[in-house]
């Protein structure tokens, strides 16, 4: 991967009062690849992505977006540069149909009125383009969809707006086996279409299925960011729980200092 990464974090730090949640994290997210962010509870995963989303700001360090320094000061700025989020709690309206949810806040108009026909056609094409095949009708209310289908709608909604990076916060939590498979396949397709995907998960099984690169956070420090092909699941578990694994992944200096 010779080209510059889509998103690069350089030594970012974040503290809440006396608690150092992120103590100098450097990691990269490539376009066209799925980067997983794993770590135990309290490792700082959520804080990290919330800072990328503009919900919080990093105290120190820089965010490099497509080779340029950026300051993501609000969620609006994040989406204007092309970063879209799929929140854990989905942020869909159950009482609206699939198309209405996908276009919520960015409706198309024909004169004074909504251009329902063109939105429906566009929504259908986007879903079909991502091979989301399980949704029978785009005029179906989201309430009637399964968890996996809802997650698919949420993800599709995020990629409709020329986004370059999609950040997913535990997209498969609370999903069954078949639905998880469906969502992971969708995540994979996003990357195959050239988007960058940053994907937080507690589930190593899922991570190993879709990720190209796996960033392991532990206690606010990035322990390692190996390629999937370069790491075994056994090593990953060790990295997550102890911060080191054999001689290939020695303990990071920051963690060693603390110990």
């Amino acid at each position: 991967m010779a080209e510059a990464p889509l998103l690069e974090l350089r030594n970012v730090k974040k503290r809440f009062a006396a608690v150092h949640v992120l103590r100098g994290v450097s990691m990269t997210v490539r376009a066209g690849a799925v980067t997983a962010l794993v770590g135990d509870n309290g490792a700082g995963k959520s804080t990290l992505i919330k800072c990328v989303a503009g919900v919080y700001q990093f105290d120190e360090g820089t965010i490099v977006w497509e080779g340029r320094d950026v300051h993501i000061t609000s969620p609006k700025v994040a989406s204007s540069v092309g970063i879209e989020f799929v929140y854990q709690d989905l942020a869909l309206c159950n009482n609206l149909d699939v198309v209405q949810n996908m276009f919520l806040g960015r409706e198309r108009h024909r004169g004074l009125f909504l251009d329902d026909e063109s939105m429906e056609a566009a929504g259908r094409e986007t879903l079909a383009g991502l091979a989301v095949t399980t949704i029978r009708s785009v005029r179906q209310k989201v309430a009637g969809l399964s968890g996996g289908q809802r997650q698919s709608v949420a993800v599709t909604k995020a990629v409709m707006w020329n986004s370059k990076l999609v950040v997913l916060d535990e997209p498969t939590a609370a999903l069954g086996v078949a639905q998880t498979k469906q969502v992971l396949a969708l995540v994979r397709r996003l990357a195959d279409r050239g988007l960058g995907v940053l994907f937080i998960s507690h589930n190593l099984e899922d991570v190993l299925k879709v990720a190209d690169s796996i960033a392991v956070l532990r206690l606010g420090v990035l322990v390692a960011q190996p390629e999937k092909t370069d790491v075994s699941s056994h090593e990953l578990v060790e990295l997550i729980t102890t911060g080191r694994s054999g001689t290939r992944f020695p303990a990071s200096p920051a963690l060693a200092k603390q110990a």
């Binding site: 709690d89 989905l90 942020a91 869909l92 309206c93 159950n94 009482n95 609206l96 209405q100 919520l104 806040g105 960015r106 409706e107 108009h109 004074l112 009125f113 909504l114 329902d116 026909e117 063109s118 429906e120 056609a121 259908r124 879903l127 079909a128 383009g129 091979a131 989301v132 095949t133 399980t134 949704i135 029978r136 009708s137 005029r139 309430a143 009637g144 969809l145 399964s146 968890g147 609370a174 999903l175 069954g176 086996v177 498979k181 469906q182 992971l184 396949a185 994979r188 397709r189 507690h202 589930n203 190593l204 099984e205 190993l208 299925k209 699941s233 056994h234 990953l236 578990v237 997550i240």
Partner: protein, 440 residues
Amino acid sequence: MLAKPSPSPETIPAAGTLAAGESASPEPGAPEAAAVLADAGDLKGHLRNSLVRLRAGDTGMLPVVGGLIVLAVIFQSLNDNFLTAGNLVNLIVQGAVYMLFAMGMIFVLLIGEIDLSIGFIGGVAGVVMAELVFGNSGVPWWVAVACGLAAGAGIGLLNGLVITIIGLPSFIVTLAGLLAWNGVMLIILGNGGTVPINDDNINNLANGLLSPTAGWVAMALLVALFVADLLLADRRRRRRGNAVPPAGVTILKIVTVVLAGIVVVAICNVDRGRLVPIRGVPWVLLIVLGFVTVWSVLLGRTSFGTYVYAIGGNAEAARRAGVAVNRIRVQVYVIAGLMGGVAGIVYASRLRSVSTNLDGGTLVLYCIAASVIGGTSLFGGRGKVIHAILGGLVIASIDNGMGLLGLSAAARYVVTGIVLLAAVSLDALASRGRASSGLS
């Protein structure tokens, strides 16, 4: 829940092999997708979809239409005056006030809130209008009506601003409004207690009748508008390659509306007078249908309408999507206030006066009942303006039917209360059904 904790080391090798198998067999490709996504275009598929929705708790207008039929059968069997032309027209005129109030209430219910002050908003609007045309004031009737409406919308604006800016629950703010605007109404009415209305134009709003021919013409225009809109929408959808409702459904809708129009006008044009001939469609029916059309278009075809539903469904999601949630909420209260004003003016017109007897408390409960009975959810996010008509008819039928039977107001309150409770229970059970079906 199905969320898995971080797997223990011994389960992971299995995961690794699974991963290899997975990536080799992707999901079915895109060409197939389009076929799957298109809606079932035939009548059978449409019926099946409706059945699925029904089972999921989306009962639509079914309960209320059924309820109306049951009421009609009961009252007609107890007193055969119920289904006479004269009484049915009465029913429309009586129900119109509830319908107009309920239209405003439905907007507020849709965003998951409530406006308890709407009854006395109507009272204030009515008394403002009545005072302006009282005596030989020389104020044109339409100026008086406009002032009444402005008073209603203004109170709605105040409600909305207090609720959103201070961040108080709508229940409390509008409960305060119920008391305060009752007081204001009484103050304006003064010691007399009654302000009669002698302006014919105003009294005709509720009591005036179209000539039989004009009734047919008006109904033909409305039906033609509806049919043209339906057919044009279908054509636009077809041109875009979207799923079009099966022809059978469209034909069924058209036939229903045409028949309903013919039946209503035919009934209204029957001579129902005892001494002098009285026939024709009441003006107020056109007022009601006009507002239903305007509000339905606003809710169904504009961003504003989508946002109203979105706020009721998931306000946080709406906010994240960039919807100016509080601005929409204020606008909803203005609409509620305006409709309170319209209903209050029609009410005053029907009674040809405004008096201290106006009970805004009962009116507000009746209009909540009408909305919920019609099919609008108390829990926000689900409902249509048309529900106001059906629910208003139910409330008016109970009132009217029990009045025909000579039952006391007390008995009517009991029955209306029971019907409201039944409707709310149905709503709650239905939303529980929706919730569980959503997880399947």
